[in-house]
């Protein structure tokens, strides 16, 4: 057994531990609790079983993207190309170029597309060492630009039925998209918690120079994280496309920023943290619930933006104050 730390008085130590533990809980946990209580008081209808489940369903695309984004953010990187990936995948699914193909093949092509973009991002970020913020953002612009100029001639149509069903259907009384969300979350959580890769991600995020000095293949880790992020984000995009059901060249652009907000609220900052995979998931639900809650009061886009901005700033501030205390 490990010898007890003798130099510090026990009481002070345990108080510090409690405080530290409290500080380490992701803000999303408190936030969700507060919101649910507020909803129970002011808008109990939001908690009715049908509506509640619908909100969970609405959270699925954001939740999936938040898991994706958390992978790169754990490695102190970021992926803002998600907006472009969404539009690109949506275009593939709805443009009709693959109308004759079975739906699963179309989904496969979309995933390959996500994989390709993720690989380009990864190359630019790890080998060229370009700033992830700028190149992924630029990637998004390029993708949307291409899709919009192409789709001007080939107009977007409907999402294949299978995908629509995945995005908005129910199975065993549970939204299918939520099942997909879980199907993404569980293996991701497992990989992060139990595999060598997961341990390396934690190490690279916690201290990149230490990771490099101690022989961890950190470039490869960041590379894989970027590819996986783009791939999982594509799944999130397909869920959204399935929910919306129609092609759009502006699909889910707000998810880019919301995913970052969800990751931070989920207790993960650039370079790891305490949220695990559950943190971003709860945060994605919290944000979706918050937007529904605001909507139910007739507060529209302005409040949504202001909340979003405020929430990110406060979460970032709390994190940096916490770091300063520690």
């Amino acid at each position: 057994m490990i010898a007890a730390e003798r130099r510090k008085p026990a009481a002070r130590f345990s108080l510090a531990t409690v405080l530290a533990a409290a500080r380490r809980l992701p803000p999303a946990y408190y936030g969700t609790l507060v919101l649910l209580v507020a909803a129970a008081v002011f808008r109990p209808v939001l908690l009715s079983s049908g509506l509640f489940l619908a909100i969970v369903q609405q959270s699925a695309p954001l939740g999936t993207v938040a898991i994706a984004q958390s992978l790169v953010m754990r490695c102190r990187s970021i992926d803002l190309s998600i907006g472009g990936i969404f539009v690109g995948a949506d275009f593939i699914a709805t443009s009709g170029y693959f109308a004759a193909w079975p739906a699963y093949a179309v989904i496969g092509i979309c995933l390959l597309f996500g994989l390709a973009i993720g690989t380009i991002n990864a190359i630019l970020v790890t080998f060229v060492r370009a700033s992830a913020v700028i190149v992924t953002l630029a990637m998004s612009i390029v993708l949307v630009g291409i899709v919009v100029s192409v789709s001007y001639f080939a107009q977007p149509g409907e999402v294949p039925e299978t995908l629509k069903n995945i995005g908005s259907g129910y199975a065993f009384g549970v939204p299918i998209s939520v099942l997909v969300w879980i199907a993404v979350a569980v293996p991701t959580s497992f990989v992060l918690a139990r595999t060598v890769f997961g341990k390396y991600v934690a190490a690279v995020g916690a201290n990149p120079s230490a990771a490099a000095l101690s022989g961890i293949p950190y470039l490869r880790v960041i590379f894989v994280a970027h590819v996986a992020c783009a791939l999982l984000a594509t799944i999130g995009g397909l869920l959204l496309a399935g929910f919306v059901g129609m092609g759009a060249t502006n699909l889910g652009q707000d998810l880019v920023l919301n995913s970052i907000a969800a990751v931070i609220l989920g207790g993960i900052n650039f370079g790891g943290g305490s949220g695990g995979t559950l943190g971003p998931i709860v945060a994605a639900f919290m944000l979706t619930f918050l937007f529904n809650f605001l909507n139910s009061f007739g507060l529209g886009e302005p409040a949504k933006y202001m909340m979003q901005g405020g929430v990110i700033a406060i979460a970032a501030l709390m994190y940096s104050l916490g770091r300063r205390v520690a």
């Binding site: 209808v45 939001l46 009715s48 049908g50 509506l51 619908a54 909100i55 609405q58 803002l80 907006g83 472009g84 539009v87 009709g96 953002l137 998004s140 612009i141 993708l143 949307v144 630009g145 919009v148 001007y152 107009q155 977007p156 149509g157 409907e158 908005s168 259907g169 959204l240 929910f243 919306v244 059901g245 129609m246 759009a248 060249t249 502006n250 699909l251 889910g252 652009q253 707000d254 880019v256 920023l257 529904n292 909507n295 139910s296 529209g300 886009e301």
Partner: protein, 370 residues
């Protein structure tokens, strides 16, 4: 920056512009049923009655008269929905019909007002003879329009609430559009019940006018508005709102929409919730017709002709030829009903086709074949 998070903003703008632009002159062809001969009269800027003069004001004869051949430009606000795509296509096809137009350029501002100003400047540089302009905002191009006016270059605007020094405006009656839906609901519900209203983007002039038309229709009836939401003319947002309304069990006897995408979203929600469809208002779009037919719902379609730019092309030529043209050309069509819509439904075409079109059938099939 098209894609960063404010893409959401772009999206809003897109939706807003979709309707703002598209509203420019809804007119029902139900009673127009344009005869081929009328369509073939290439100088008929009313497109066989789709458009009609509003007020008595006319342009002065020979105010913009010029010797051909002509170079004209269509300065668009942006592309982003099938109505606009079709309307641009109609303009292009219309231009091709006129041999005295030798140059036709088309720009789009990606919904950025400042870029549109630049586009107008660039078009001015290229010495065009006339401009058809669909603005991003009702006022963003006013200074530029003034420059064109100073050079006696006619500017034909497609848009609601335009204030600048344009030559002719080609648009639709928004209040009428809203009233068509309101009248339908009053009739379908026999003057009493609870309806939901799905509005467009808060604060948009067009949105307010449509909504006012709807409220006008409800006057003196016992119909109450049980829920009023801004769906932003957007499918995804409306779907979420409608889902919340349905699942929260709010009573509803009918729903008024200020745009077809929102109707489709709600129909989908009702069907997924296995809830019987209530009377809902819609719009003259093939995708909506398809759902209308598939569900057999009780509905009405306000019509919004994508051929407006075609009319604008003819107006432009008339101006260049020195004709006197009505200053305001509006389109206030009656609705398509349960009985009449099937004449316009084209099962052989996809959802992106809008009526009434001035396109030849060969073009329509090429563009919209399933």
């Amino acid at each position: 920056m098209l894609t960063f998070f404010p893409k959401e903003v772009d999206a809003m703008r897109l939706r807003r512009q979709l309707v703002l632009t598209a509203i420019v002159g809804a007119s029902t062809i139900a009673f127009v049923a344009p005869a081929r001969s009328q369509m073939d009269n290439l100088s008929d800027y009313t497109l066989g009655g789709v458009m009609s003069p509003r007020g008595t004001e006319r342009t002065a004869p020979n105010a913009f008269k010029k010797i051909g051949p002509y170079r004209i430009a269509l300065v668009g606000a942006g592309v982003g929905n099938s109505w606009i795509v079709q309307s641009f296509e109609e303009a292009k096809v219309e231009v091709a019909r006129h041999k005295d137009i030798v140059s036709y350029v088309q720009t789009n501002a990606e919904w950025q007002p400042a870029k549109q100003v630049s586009d107008l400047e660039d078009v001015l540089t290229k010495n065009v003879d006339a401009v058809i302009l669909s603005t991003v905002t009702p006022t963003n191009a006013n200074a530029e329009i003034e420059k064109f006016a100073a050079k006696k270059i006619p500017v034909v605007v497609l848009g609601t609430g335009m204030t600048g020094n344009y030559a002719v405006e080609v648009r639709g009656g928004a209040e009428h559009f809203g009233k068509v839906g309101g009248d339908f609901l009053v009739k379908a519900l026999h003057g009493k019940g609870t309806v939901w209203a799905f509005r467009g983007i808060a604060g948009a002039e067009e949105e307010v006018a449509r909504y006012n038309g709807f409220r006008d229709a409800l006057k003196g009836t016992q119909i109450t508005i049980g829920a009023e939401e801004y769906g932003d003319w957007n499918y995804a947002k409306s779907k979420q709102i409608c889902q919340n309304l349905v699942l929260s069990g709010k009573p509803v006897d009918g729903i008024w929409f200020s745009g077809a995408e929102m109707t489709r979203a709600c129909v989908d929600v009702f069907q997924q919730a296995h809830k019987p469809l209530v009377p809902m208002t819609g719009e003259g779009n093939n995708g909506f017709f398809r759902i209308w037919k598939e569900t057999g719902m009780n509905s009405v379609a306000a019509v919004f002709p994508p051929s407006l730019p075609a009319s604008a092309v003819r107006v432009t030529l008339a101006l260049l030829h020195g004709e006197s043209v009505p200053k305001h050309l509006w389109s206030e069509p009656a609705a398509l009903t349960n009985d009449t819509y099937q004449k316009y439904y084209r099962p052989d075409l996809n959802d992106n086709y809008w009526v009434p079109s001035s396109l030849p059938d060969s073009d329509v099939k090429k563009l919209y074949a399933k």
